[in-house]
């Protein structure tokens, strides 16, 4: 089964910097996808190394799966073959021209690190990931990850200007440009967005940047029913108001997110956190250890209402604009029979330094899919593209499907036209899993009926053997296969992970 002999491994090791080649169990386990571990993991620190590794893999017929920061390895189908995990270690800012609002970065840079640099110029990249800022730019692009800010800024396809990538034959290639407008040649970079490493390996990306709004505020309105919440959405859409983000959380989704904070967790002040950091730093320096370390801080429970539907509205602009939104949103919410309307508490300054979110609630909401799967590992977290006009009808159908198959369900609705739906079986046993598979298939059909599409973002590996996570293929698959064959004729890039088994 293993095509990797020792001599082959030695050749692979020689292609990357010393210390960037791993075959030990611990490192391979980190790269495991749905139970499949690679034979070797390597980190490339230059484009030339990416080229060399891919050429080597192509010559030896080895399958390569690129990754950034381990954030979304579970997306997609299990790889049909998996020999080399290729980490993209390139993490420089190639050029940043704040006065032109354009940026060129290597793919391995973390969104947080990048936005920290942009923030000095009061700019940011609205490349909103459902994981927060720990994902890499390449990872976010390859998975087409998006978040609440898509309401105002769209997704990567709307502000990505150009890309450089390495094809399945190890050819360094680019498309698009660095300026804010260019229609020269085919937009191959749009094909790369969301292609999950099956067409090429992204090595750098060019974006336009955006000014940070001087003031932001988030409002939370609560409603007894989904239809009331949707009436509020409709009123906003019909007005000339321009919210930056607009999400709707079901009571069950609220319960899931609330439970992320452990029971009895107490709120901790920024001062206390800084004290912990200081004492830890001191202890490490006394032990002669490096001074940089990572610390996990659990934020307090978001305290979402678990009985009602919560509409979160993000606003931004100058003070008058934000005030205008508050002034008009409140009566608009009450006209739609809101039971409460509040302004969210601003993020603690410590978090504000590392997060674009102006309040804790967004940090929770954006992670909904992955949190649901993290808390309920037997669940399926689906992403459904339906338009807001079909939200009510679709969600009622979805709830019916869940009940019919004895599953719990929780939903996050993004007004731009996406529903994140978690279907949770009572146990990970086989019988409930069969029911989950049937429910997912019913959801695929319901999405199609509503004129949309659906895919499973996260689910147990066992379920992936029974169901196509990308949904039933459509007539467009043949063209996509043609494209795959042109860019990766040997089929070595993330084989089998994508739509239609690509």
């Amino acid at each position: 089964m293993s095509p990797l002999q020792d001599a082959t491994l030695a050749k692979l090791e020689a292609l990357v910097d010393a210390g960037n080649f791993f075959t030990d169990a611990e490192n391979l386990a980190r790269c495991t996808i749905d139970g499949c571990a690679p034979r070797a993991a390597v980190q490339a620190n230059t484009v030339e190394q990416v080229v060399e590794v891919v050429r080597f893999a192509a010559a030896e017929n080895l399958a390569v799966v690129p990754y950034g920061n381990f954030q979304q390895m579970g997306l997609g189908a299990p790889p049909a073959q998996y020999d080399i995990a290729l980490r993209i270690g390139l993490d420089r800012v190639i050029s940043y021209d704040p006065r032109d609002l354009t940026l060129s970065v290597e793919a391995g840079i973390q969104l947080n690190d990048l936005n920290q640099q942009l923030r000095e110029q009061r700019q940011f990249l609205p490349l909103d990931s459902h994981l927060g800022g720990f994902a890499t730019i390449g990872g976010i692009l390859a998975t087409n990850s998006s978040g609440p800010l898509r309401h105002a800024f769209g997704t990567a396809r709307d502000f990505l200007l150009g890309l450089e990538f390495v094809t399945g034959e190890g050819v360094r290639t680019k498309s698009g440009g660095r300026v804010v407008k260019s229609v020269a040649g085919y937009d191959i970079h749009k094909l790369m967005i969301g292609s999950l490493g099956t067409l090429g390996i992204i090595t750098s990306a060019n974006f336009r940047t955006f000014p940070l709004p001087p003031v932001t505020a988030t409002y939370l309105a609560r409603f007894a029913t989904l239809d009331d919440a949707l009436a509020f959405r409709r009123a906003m859409a019909a007005s000339t108001l321009q919210p930056r983000a607009l999400d709707i959380l079901s009571p069950d989704a609220a319960r899931l997110l609330n439970s992320l904070a452990p029971a009895g967790a107490r709120e901790i002040s920024e001062k206390e956190i800084l004290q912990i950091v200081e004492s830890e730093t001191q202890a490490r320096s006394e032990r002669g250890e490096a001074n940089s370390f990572a610390m996990t801080i659990r934020t307090p429970s978001p305290g979402f209402s678990e009985k009602e539907w919560t509409v979160l509205v993000g606003t931004g602009g100058n003070e008058q604009v934000v005030e205008r939104h508050r002034r008009e949103l409140e009566p608009m919410a009450h006209a739609a029979r809101a039971t409460a309307f509040d302004q969210a508490r601003p993020q603690q300054p410590l978090f504000a330094r590392i997060s674009e979110d102006d309040c804790m609630e967004w940090s929770y909401v954006r992670t909904f899919s992955s949190v649901a799967f993290h808390l309920k590992p037997a669940a399926a977290a689906m992403k459904i593209s339906v338009l807001p006009g079909q939200f009510s009808e679709f969600l009622k159908a979805a709830q019916g499907i869940a009940e019919q198959h004895e599953l719990a369900s929780a939903a996050l609705l993004r007004a731009a036209g996406v529903i994140y739906l978690a279907l949770v079986p009572s146990s990970p046993e086989e019988a409930p899993r069969k029911r989950l598979a049937q429910a997912c298939n019913d959801i695929f059909a319901a999405a199609q009926l509503a004129g949309g599409t659906a895919a499973i973002e996260f689910c147990p590996a066992a379920l992936k053997r029974e169901i196509n996570v990308w949904g039933p293929p459509r007539a467009d698959l043949a063209l996509m296969r043609n494209l795959k064959n042109e860019f990766d004729p040997r089929g070595i890039l993330s084989p089998g992970r994508f739509y239609g088994g690509i």
Binding site: R157, R178, S182, I193, T240, M480, E486
Partner: protein, 477 residues
């Protein structure tokens, strides 16, 4: 052309929908560029099924097919460079569906751009991409070229507003990609097809986003005694991260030509003007206008006028949008460029264009989307004078080389077509172009769709060549 093919086409389209007489074909050998190419036959499909049958007929006879909307394109995209069938979409011009709740419209490719807005503005919506030719250009052409326009500075270009397409593939198969919804699983074929200049598939239906009309709009005209001051203003507005809805530059020569025709009230003695529009919530419009006026004054604007009402605003825009028509009154022919540069490089680049103009002995007018850094230098020349034609092309090549040298693009919104195909190696390596050829091969393997476009004819050497003469024998004018 095989008369049998013409008979076949006549059989299922009807004789009035098939043109093959020389005098008829001559009407279709131009577009808005300086290129010329005559088709062998012009057809007017009415339905997707007509398109399918035309494609099947073309396949049987192995002749090229080129799509065409209103023929307003500026890069030769809608010209049958290698002859064959020219498919004109003027009879597929119906708006099929308007879905206000979900802010979508489904339209046929021959629908005129502005007609989408006209159909929905009563309800408070509009279709955002607004090429200057929007009163006549069609959505199919906009999709093929990924068209821009003045207001795309804030609202984005065509690709940002198209969510789905129905296309006919070169095999004759009808395929839907994308839809009304977003994030369709699989590769983003919609994103690939928009801007592919009719070389990958023939678009027969387009699903577009509708945008909410802003509640407030303010239009400013900043008047300058020097070109530098105007371009410095644009650089500074960008640097302050103010994003107006539109920010247009017009130099003194151009505005005098425009004023003589449109009477928009532009100051005749100025060296340059900026037409700047801000829109959105009234609170933000006010604040932005104040800041923009401050930047204009800091950069020595002689005067900043604010349009008093919609009538005055429309007049200012009428001048801008009819500028190319106005230029046509003073010169037998002109060559419009479409290079893009970083906004920080605007002042220096305009000085370079001036130097290049003097070197080749041309008057070069400048009217462009300054906020995007999307230049449109207009080189006036007489095409009957072969020497002038060659010098115009050479001057344009130098301007383009400069755009690329400062990190820009050879085309911001007009497309490559065959006007700029030989310039592609300026921006892209042979490997980049090979990737694009592979895309074309994946969708259009026989190469019958709009051949001779985008890709340089001479393959492989990577050096800059002067664009060849049009391949047809007809002489302009």
């Amino acid at each position: 052309m095989d008369p049998k093919l013409i008979r076949e086409l006549q059989e299922f389209l009807g004789k009035p929908s098939v043109l093959s007489a020389r005098e008829d074909l001559m009407m279709y050998e131009y577009d808005g560029s300086i290129e010329v190419a005559r088709p062998d036959v012009v057809v007017f499909p009415r339905t997707t099924q007509d398109v399918v049958r035309i494609v099947q007929a073309a396949n049987r006879h192995q002749v090229p097919i080129t799509g065409r909307g209103a023929g307003t394109g500026l890069s030769g995209g809608a010209l049958a460079r290698l002859g064959g069938i020219l498919m004109v979409f003027s009879r597929m011009n119906k708006i099929l569906e308007i879905d206000l709740e979900n802010q979508r419209a489904v339209v046929q490719p021959g629908v005129v751009n502005l007609d989408i807005t006209r159909a929905v503005e009563h309800a408070g919506y509009f279709f955002a991409p607004d090429p200057s030719s929007q009163k006549s250009c069609t959505i199919g052409g906009n999709v093929a070229e990924n068209a821009g326009g003045p207001h795309t500075l804030l609202y984005g270009i065509t690709t940002n507003h198209v969510t789905g397409l129905e296309v006919v593939l070169p095999s004759g198969e009808v395929l839907r990609v994308g839809g009304k919804t977003l994030d369709t699983p699989g590769y983003d074929l919609t994103g690939l097809l928009v801007g592919s200049e009719g070389t990958l598939a023939i678009v027969t239906e387009v699903t577009v986003k509708l945008t909410r009309l802003p509640e407030a709009t303010k239009t400013l005209l900043a008047v300058y005694n020097s070109v530098d001051d105007a371009t410095e203003t644009v650089a500074e507005i960008t640097a302050r991260a103010i994003t107006p809805a539109a920010c247009e530059f017009m130099d003194g020569w151009t505005l005098r030509v425009v004023e003589a025709w449109v009477h928009a009230g532009y100051p005749l003695d100025s060296a340059a003007v900026l037409l700047i529009e801000v829109d959105g919530l009234s609170e933000s419009v006010e604040a932005q206008a104040v800041e923009i006026i401050e930047v204009c004054k800091l950069n020595r604007a002689r005067e900043v006028r604010v349009a008093k009402d919609a009538k005055e605003r429309d007049l200012l825009w009428k001048g801008r949008k009819n500028a190319f028509g106005a230029v046509g009154r003073v010169s037998p022919s002109y060559y419009v460029q479409d290079g893009v540069i970083p906004r920080t490089k605007l002042p220096a680049t305009l000085r370079v264009i001036d130097v290049i103009g003097k070197k080749y002995g041309f008057e070069i007018g400048n009217i462009f989307h300054a906020g995007d850094g999307n230049l449109h230098p207009i080189i006036l020349f007489d095409p009957r004078d072969r020497g002038q034609y060659e010098r115009a092309v050479a001057a344009a090549g130098e301007i383009m080389a400069h755009c690329i040298a400062v990190g820009g693009s050879i085309t911001g919104e007009h497309g490559v077509g065959f006007e700029k195909s030989e310039l592609m190696p300026l921006m892209f390596t042979e490997a980049d172009l090979d990737a694009m050829r592979r895309v074309r091969h994946a969708l259009n393997p026989a190469g019958l769709l709009n051949p001779g476009k985008i890709f340089p004819f001479g393959k492989g050497c990577g050096e800059v060549r002067v664009r060849p003469f049009p391949v047809t024998s007809s002489t302009p004018l």
